[in-house]
Symmetry: C2
Subunit: 287 residues, 2 copies
Amino acid sequence: MPRFALAQMNMSSIYEENIAKADYFIEKASKEHVDCLLLPELFTRLYFCQIEDYESFSYAEERSNSKTLKHFQKMAERFQIVLPISFFEKAGNCFFNSLVVFDKDGKDLGLYRKSHIPTGACYEEKFYFAEGDTGFKVFHSSCGNLGIGICWDQWFPETARILALKGADILMFPTAIGSEPILPFDSMKHWQNVMRGHASANIMPLLAANRFGKESIGDSSMIFYGSSFIADEHGEIVSSFNREEEGLLYKDFDFQKIANERQTWGVFRDRRIDLYSPILKKDDTSI
Amino acid sequence: MPRFALAQMNMSSIYEENIAKADYFIEKASKEHVDCLLLPELFTRLYFCQIEDYESFSYAEERSNSKTLKHFQKMAERFQIVLPISFFEKAGNCFFNSLVVFDKDGKDLGLYRKSHIPTGACYEEKFYFAEGDTGFKVFHSSCGNLGIGICWDQWFPETARILALKGADILMFPTAIGSEPILPFDSMKHWQNVMRGHASANIMPLLAANRFGKESIGDSSMIFYGSSFIADEHGEIVSSFNREEEGLLYKDFDFQKIANERQTWGVFRDRRIDLYSPILKKDDTSI
């Protein structure tokens, strides 16, 4: 059975420190016989989208020429571990919030560009990122078919459903989420419940890896709430961190057994695709 | 603020007893100033779909000529309460698992026919019911826009999302679910998690009303697991029954406040309808 892990990490303003921390968890996961390790979203930097700053575009890297990707490709091969790596991508005249998956032999399994881009106080992603143009992607790795979305993608049942329809065995979401300084919300439970819904509705496990701790950029600051978790195929949380822990969670999954249950349950048989076209509208009240 | 209630009930083999029990809860709800009461699926009978029996088709009623509907229409008006009523519908050469909503003045707000029809041991609905042909429906009642699905519909994120896109303030599911005699599952938590996912992803409250207790039909028997619940707009369960309680749960909802939060959160703004066409396929792995 493949073993899946996530790392919950506190990020620094120093790129090299973040790389070193990720390396530490990759090596640690390898020792624990982990087959695939999920790191948080944009883990090589502070969450620069907290403010709109033209200087931060300098963090972006071209996929074919990325120091970050080259490094983790080597790490994947060296430690024989599947690594989905979130990075800030420059591509021609566009910038994307992207992710590449490296298989255990270091093979590049493809690129995904975050589809749903948030904006609002402390999450100014529409300033930096174009909406992803790859569509949703399942990565066919040596330890299973990985259905991966990025952060805000996790709030949309459509993301999870499409990944399931594309043959995912497991859903994975690198994330950077925390306080809403302007809104009176603590969204932690809400955030978990939405993803527990994806796992249970699609009858497949789910991992969400978040950063934690306070980050200040200029006059702005926010607190990321950690609470990374692994949910089983019924949406039950089987392992989780609190809001301030750093570390690794892992769990083994029998994808064949889960696929059998998914088949037995019959929801994919009974979907009414002839009735679902309203999902292709933004609004269906006024028509 | 409108007050929403659900009744969890144990059903009898005698139609009149079930009607009397529903009446009891309607009157009780009215005394508690409930604006809308949700009763379980097909509550006037034992869950006859437990077996395939041609005799059971005799339970079906034509909408325009239904003793059951006429009765509850009068009850709605008499007790000034909105009543979604689940019933076994005969329509021409077809039979449906249907629902009509009566407003406080007894006005018929429309018909919904269950879209997703299950089958399998103890849930032989495909034997009785044609797939619903109405599409998903939001009922515009005097206490809010009611997005109502029926039982198996509740397992599909598409149901909830489409009801939200059609302007629902609240999601409601009359249900009959319990043991899986042939499968090694207890699906109760799974069942709750899927619907908590709908509530949280669409940022609106949800009610699920189930029957409970053992029912035997011929040589077959099964146990319905109750566990009816009310979830808030973050998917947290705010009120619930255990597996063997009979009674009424209710909760007041400020739909304007919830709508404000839904707007603030931005998920409906950021949906990528240009990427969702795979949802209109049964499978997207082989293409």
